[in-house]
Symmetry: C2
Subunit: 321 residues, 2 copies
DNA sequence: CACGATGGTGCTCATATGAGCGGGGGGTGT
DNA sequence: ACACCCCCCGCTCATATGAGCACCATCGTG
């Protein structure tokens, strides 16, 4: 260390290094050219540039003016091994505005990555609804409903219309059905799954290539499913390590599926089917969901994320622990 | 086309580009490695990086925290074709503080570039004095006085001691003499040049390899020589195009030596001898000297500069005209 | 003074990289 | 529908580049 520059060597060395760095980085000349120009060996030039970078004389910044924090996106993508990742630098003041912004970002992402050969699956979540609302253009693909809907009391979402809306924007066929996400008993669930529309949608799940879902944490207000579950069941599932919920599938902190009675009463995609989908985009906001997102990613069920900077930073910090 | 990205694509493209750029610039991976990692062709990677740079997604800045503006130094060096160049970003408030700072910078530069094989020549100038004061270490080399001293009224400079001081710091022999820079007539000058000490110093001028000088502009307060010249002579020389003065040599705006009666009455290095010195470092401050510095550099008598940012910028602007 | 440590330099050779080319593929205008 | 055009992609081959090595000067030390 402590080679020559910056701390030692003197101003001439410093200026020479700066000149070389300027020629190389800003003017785009090759090292050989620079070597000839300055009457140095190309090795010397390479070493100067090396020094210039390591000493901080040359600073390289990545970023762009806009709502997408590309740098953070790239870091999060790398850290979690994601397929795609979009992090907005929206200030996380109000959940609704956050959801709206992420909806726009997710819509852009989706319309970018969807190709005419894809089959799109949508899980029910408010954030996915927000995306549907923001969606403006998309290749015509089949759109498949992956889970039953779960209306929350006083919901203003046109949630049931989600799949139809997206299909309309897309121009492709819609495979949707009217059913709740969870029903009181397994028999009812089985019966519902026999329903023609449900069966039709479910038969397509295996061919879904891209899906969009929300990620819930197993806590109040952090998961629609949690909120619509009985007190006893909540506690029991929590005690069995349930940490996150993705399209009705329960996951523990390690990313393992947690089998439960609840599962049999669900109308929706299974964990195995979910994992089989090549790309699942999770739209998530709120730092309270940090561990849940980590779990969802570890489970292999979610491999792309659309989120905001504070959660992204929390995820990176947590993943580094 | 006008979505979010650099001009094409969507957020995924943007983030991919950012990831690639991060891996390349920040992590220093090769393009081939990146291509493998992202399952792209290396050409694609190269094109992404190309886009990232041209679109401004990747910003490269050169600079360092300190008093030396390396970026500006490099630019000025390139623009004027200098051998060395040090530009301090000292705010040019008061000439004395400026001189002091430049003295420090010049001292650092000199001690860096002087090797034991050099022979150092010093012209008389306050800025050179400032350098001498700031000088702390230097290879032991002979130090040669290049011009007579020119004390200005009420001078507090220990100017005559300049050569001796530097030689003392250096540890090498000092070749100095007590004589004024200009005398009333050519005969006196010739006689003075015969003086043993003067002759001894002058005999060494041919072997001087590095020299330090000030640069004066042919205007009041901009040149010691000007200030000690008669009104008539000032005007006459000005009318003959004299623009700058370096160690007693007069130069016009084109960089040509201006022959004058004054020249014959000078005790000091000649223009030809000056040009023969491989490296002459000029220490200059004050934007009023912009044209003078340009002339001095064009003349080939000065090929390194120690100056401050505003003058450096003025020089670049002027050189671009 | 001899010694090894140290750091800086330029070399060789395998590899990475750039410039320019041709070949689709999809959108467009008639 | 057809031809056309433009853009994007990956190839070839000459060149630039990096890793490691051997050499040399310098310097502190026994």
């Amino acid at each position: 260390m402590a080679t020559t520059n910056t701390g030692a060597g003197g101003p001439a060395q410093l200026v020479l290094t700066a000149s070389v760095a300027r020629r190389y980085y800003l003017d785009g000349r090759s090292k050989v050219e620079i070597a000839e120009e300055f009457a140095l060996s190309r090795f010397k030039v390479a070493r100067l540039l090396e020094d210039a970078r390591s000493s901080g004389l040359v600073r390289i910044e990545i970023g762009h003016p806009g709502t997408v924090d590309v740098e953070l996106s790239a870091r999060l993508m790398e850290k979690l091994g994601l397929t795609h990742c979009v992090v907005t630098d929206t200030p996380d003041d109000h959940p609704a505005s956050l959801r709206e912004h992420l909806g726009v970002a997710a819509a852009e992402l989706l319309s970018e990555v969807i190709t005419p050969d894809d089959v799109l699956g949508l899980a029910w979540a408010r954030s996915v609804s927000a995306m549907a609302t923001a969606l403006q253009h998309m290749a015509p693909v089949p759109v498949v409903q992956l889970t039953g809907a779960l209306a929350r009391p006083g919901a203003d979402d046109s949630s049931i219309e989600l799949v139809r809306d997206v299909a309309r924007t897309s121009g492709g066929p819609a495979y949707f059905f009217y059913a709740p996400m969870a029903v009181p008993d397994a028999a009812t669930a089985r019966a519902l799954r026999q329903q023609p529309e449900v069966a039709r949608a479910f038969s397509l799940i295996g061919s879904v290539t891209k899906a969009v879902a929300g990620v819930g944490a197993w806590a109040p207000e952090q998961s629609t499913l949690f909120d619509s579950t009985s007190e006893a069941e909540r506690a029991e599932l929590a005690s069995r390590g349930v940490c996150a919920e993705v399209s009705g599938v329960l996951i523990d902190i390690e990313g393992n599926t947690v089998p439960a009675g609840l599962t049999e009463r669900m109308i929706g995609i299974t964990a195995a089917q979910m994992r089989a989908v090549p790309e699942v985009i999770g739209i998530v906001y709120g730092t309270g969901k940090t561990l849940a997102v980590l779990a969802a990613v570890r489970s292999g069920m979610v491999n792309s994320l659309v989120t905001h900077s504070t959660l992204a930073e929390a995820l990176i910090a947590e993943a580094e622990r």
